[in-house]
Symmetry: C2
Subunit: 209 residues, 2 copies
DNA sequence: TAGATTGTTAATCGATTAACAATC
DNA sequence: TAGATTGTTAATCGATTAACAATC
């Protein structure tokens, strides 16, 4: 039975399911049971069925799940067919790396523009994405739909930039500043990539083996 | 009372505590109670005290915690004073970005070398780190202590590279390949930065607001 | 001392796992 | 049909929160 409140733990497993199902699909696998999927992913069959049942009934008794269908259902739940629009602020090394290597379109995002203060990058095009001056940012946002802003900027200007963007109506942030950002508006979502937290976790685990 | 089995949830909170305590320290704050720390971090005071009590008794009744002392205790638990040694494999855009911007030393890691197949980068030095040919990798590992390998390489060679490194004795991986890597040896630790999973999580949350 | 706050035990809450009737 | 596997309910487990005696 569909659930209203999906826990964070379930949400964080969805991309993993999606990844695994894509792989199964590419391997040409047609159907899979919760049991075999669980074996591949180190998750119990019970949990898999519980997770899916939050969103609907995607399987068939005695058969299991059709890989292609389940993959597209989970993709749909994740919003990969929503054609979300994204811009990037801060085109340093990391911004560059993301623009050139990250498969935004496979994730359902169109990267419409990037912004920076450096004259060296302003006016260039990186992997098809035009880089504009920060001066053009407000105007761009007023004239284009923007669902997510990627923050690849220095910590020192992170919170003020975010606050300004929120005042312009931005509600989604992919935050690479390794800094906690806040908003009083609950509809504003921050997804953080905390490199340092991640490496420190690894440090802990090798130090306490 | 010290605990033996620390849950993953607790471990993942440790870097956040460490980050917050560093900030408090830099702001010149001398002491803090679990209650105020909780307010700043959106964590209950109970949970903070429970978390710390897994590792020892760092506070004082009626006083709270000394910021500098607690910060150094948590840093110690995380292993930031262990002088871990790290090398990077794959010096593309992302590897470059990490070498140039990520504060490895603040996290307790010395970056001793980087390796790549491209003649363009081999022989160069990036932010003080020498880049060697992949041909020199095995020799380097035999002659130097290496605690962690950063994998910033293409997915297609990720698992085989990891397996080879494990056979050479490597037990810690910081994995940027957006791919699940596995080892049969339980002492081998993988810490993953899954960019795509992260962005898909955000996609879900803006799609289901 | 009186007030504050810890460390820890007990209670609650939520997430995971097990079990099983329904059914393909 | 018989076997397999789902979706869901119930049981278990673990993590979070509340309460409080100890004590600085």
């Amino acid at each position: 039975m569909k659930k209203d409140n999906i826990s964070d733990a379930v949400i964080r497993r969805l991309p993993r399911y999606y990844r695994q199902l894509n792989e199964l699909f590419n391997r040409g696998i047609i159907r899979i049971s919760s049991h075999s999927l669980g074996e591949e992913m180190n998750i119990t069959a019970s949990q898999i069925r519980q997770d899916f049942s939050c969103f609907g009934e995607f399987g068939q008794q005695g058969y299991g799940y059709n890989v292609e269908e389940l993959r597209s259902e989970i993709g749909h739940i994740l919003g990969v067919d929503n054609n979300h629009h994204l811009i990037m602020i801060g085109v340093g090394n990391l911004g560059h790396a993301l623009l050139q290597n990250f498969p935004f379109s496979q994730t359902g995002f169109a990267v419409d523009a990037a912004f920076d203060v450096s004259p060296i990058v302003i006016g260039t095009t990186i992997h098809g994405v035009p880089v504009y001056s920060m001066n053009d940012l407000d105007g761009f946002i007023r004239e284009h739909p923007v669902d997510v802003v990627v923050l690849t900027i220095p910590q020192s200007i992170a919170q003020e930039t975010a606050s300004h963007l929120i005042s312009l109506g931005i509600q989604g942030f992919w935050n690479f500043t390794n800094m906690e950002l806040n908003s009083s508006k609950p509809e504003v979502k921050f997804e953080n990539i905390h490199f340092a937290d991640s490496l420190l976790t690894l440090s802990y685990r090798i130090a306490n083996r």
